[in-house]
C-alpha cells in the first residue's frame, strides 16, 4: 500500500471553525486512506500535543489554523518555536483559514502582535519570511473543506499550484465569489433584494454583499455540495480577504449613493455609466417573485 502523507495540524488562536468545516468534507474516509494526521486537536492521532512540541516527529505537511502571536503557547512551548521547528522538516505549509493567513478577527484581541503566518492584513510579516516559499494560503472564515483537501491532494501528487500575491491557489482564488452566483441577472439590472433568504434580488446594492470584489470559489464549488451564502440569500461577507472582518456587514457602504467598493477591476466611470443605463429600465420579470405571479 502506498505510504500515507503525514500531516500535522497545529492551532494558534482560533475558534476551531476551520476544523469543523474540514470535518464536513463528505469523503473524509477516503481522504484518511491517503493522509494521516500525526496530530490533530480533534481527530484521534498517533502523538499527543506534548510529544509533538517536545520532539520533531517526521511529517510532510504542516497545517496552521488560527492567528499567530509570540505570546501564544501550546503545551508550554511557544507556538512560533513549534512552527519554526516543523517548518524545517516539512515539504509544504498551509495556512488554514483567514486568521492564520491574514490575522483575522483576533487582531482585535488583547494579544499585542497578532498576525497571520506571512501577512498582517495586506502587510508582509518579517518573522517567517524564510519559509514563505513553502507556504500555500487557503483563506476563508471558515475554509471551504474542498479547497483545503484538493490542495493537499495537489501536494501529494506533486502538482505545482500557481499562487496569487497572498499565496492563495489561483485555481480557487483567481475568481470572485460573484462568479457563478445565481443572482447575476438581478445584479445586471440593479434589482436589490429586500428580504434576506429570498431567492430574488441582488444584495450588492443595499445589503452589503461583497461577492463582486471578494476572491474565492463559493459559487463554483458549492458548500456541502449544494449551496452558497449568496445563493441562499445572505450577502457575501468577504471572508477570504485580508481586511476581513469589516463592520456593518449587512449594509452596503455608499458615498452619495455610490457603492464605496466597486466590482473588482471596474473603473468608477465605467461602473456609473453602466449603472446609469440599467437603472433607466424596469424589468418586470425581475421585480416579481419567481414563483408567485
Amino acid at each position: 500500500m502506498q505510504q500515507k502523507v503525514k500531516v500535522l495540524w497545529i492551532t494558534g488562536l482560533a475558534c476551531n471553525g476551520n476544523t469543523h468545516s474540514f470535518l464536513n468534507y463528505p469523503n473524509l474516509g477516503q481522504f484518511l486512506d491517503n493522509f494521516e494526521f500525526i496530530y490533530h486537536p480533534i481527530i484521534e492521532s498517533k502523538y499527543s500535543l506534548e510529544e509533538i512540541v517536545s520532539n520533531t516527529i517526521p511529517c510532510d505537511v504542516l497545517l496552521i489554523e488560527g492567528s499567530i502571536s509570540a505570546e501564544i503557547e501550546k503545551a508550554d512551548k511557544k507556538l512560533i518555536d513549534i512552527i519554526s521547528n516543523y517548518a524545517k522538516v516539512v515539504n509544504k505549509i498551509i495556512t488554514v483559514g483567514t486568521c492564520s493567513t491574514f490575522g483575522g478577527i483576533f487582531r482585535d484581541s488583547e494579544y499585542e502582535d497578532i498576525t497571520g503566518l506571512h501577512f498582517n492584513e495586506t502587510l508582509e510579516v518579517e518573522r517567517f519570511r524564510k519559509i514563505k516559499d513553502k507556504t500555500i494560503s487557503i483563506s476563508g472564515c471558515p475554509i471551504h473543506p474542498e479547497l483545503l483537501i484538493n490542495t493537499l491532494y495537489s501536494i501529494k501528487n506533486k502538482i505545482e499550484l500557481k499562487l496569487d500575491e497572498y499565496l492563495r491557489p489561483k485555481e480557487y482564488f483567481a475568481y470572485t465569489i460573484h462568479n457563478g452566483c445565481t443572482r447575476n441577472e438581478y445584479f445586471e439590472y440593479k434589482v436589490d433584494n429586500h428580504q434576506f433568504g429570498k431567492k430574488e434580488g441582488c444584495m450588492f446594492y443595499d445589503h452589503g454583499c461583497q461577492a463582486p470584489f471578494t476572491h474565492g470559489s463559493c459559487n463554483k464549488i458549492l458548500w456541502n455540495e449544494v449551496n452558497s451564502k449568496t445563493r441562499a440569500g445572505q450577502p457575501c461577507m468577504g471572508c477570504t480577504e485580508p481586511d476581513f472582518p469589516k463592520s456593518n456587514l449587512f449594509k452596503t457602504k455608499k458615498n452619495m449613493g455610490i457603492p464605496a467598493n466597486l466590482p473588482l477591476g471596474v473603473a468608477k466611470r465605467t461602473y456609473l455609466t453602466l449603472a446609469g443605463v440599467t437603472k433607466a429600465f424596469t424589468i418586470n420579470r425581475l421585480e416579481k417573485d419567481i414563483f408567485d405571479d
Partner: protein, 195 residues
Amino acid sequence: MSDKKQQKKNDIIEASLELFASKGFYNTTIPDIAKALKMSVGNMYNYFKSKDILAKEIIKFISIYLGNELKKINEEDISTEEKTRKIVAIYFKIALARPEMIDYFLRIYLSNREVFKDGCEGMICVNEFVTEIMIYFEEGVTAGDLRDQDFFSAFGLFMGYLGGMVFLKGEAILPKPLDEYIDDISYNIYKALSV
C-alpha cells in the same frame, strides 16, 4: 461612421441648436434646418430620420460636451471646494458662450419629456454629464469634505440652483452679469453640501 459623416452630423446639430433657440423647438422644421445648412431635405434625412431622433442626438451631444468639461475638473488634483467653484464657473461660461446648449437642456429636454420618452429613459441621454457630477460628489464624500446623503438631494441642490440662475439670466432678470455670481454661488453650494 466616417469622420466626414460625423462632422456633418455635428454641423446639423449645431445649426439645429441655434434654430431651436431662436425660433423654438416646435416652430423649427427639418426643412428649416436643411435650408440653414444649404442642404436638400432629402439629404438631411440621410443623417437624421426624424426631428425626434435629432432631438435625442442633440441632448447626447450636449451631455458629452458638458461631461468632458466636468471630467477635466474631476481629474485635477484640487480640493472639493475648488472643484465646486470650477464646476459653477464652467457651467456659467458655457451658458454665456453657448447659450443655445443650456437653453436646449432647460427648455427643450426638461420641458418636452414626450419627445424623449423612448430612447432617453431615465438619465441615459445625459449619462456622461450625470456620471461626472456623481464622481464629484463621491470623491467629495470620500475626501471627507461633503456630507454623505442621497444623490438626488445633492444633485437637485446643485443643478437646480445653476439652472435657475441661467434661466433668470435668459429672462434678463439678473441685475449683474452671470459671472459676478460665481463666488457667492460656489460658496453657497459648498457650504450647503459640506460636512
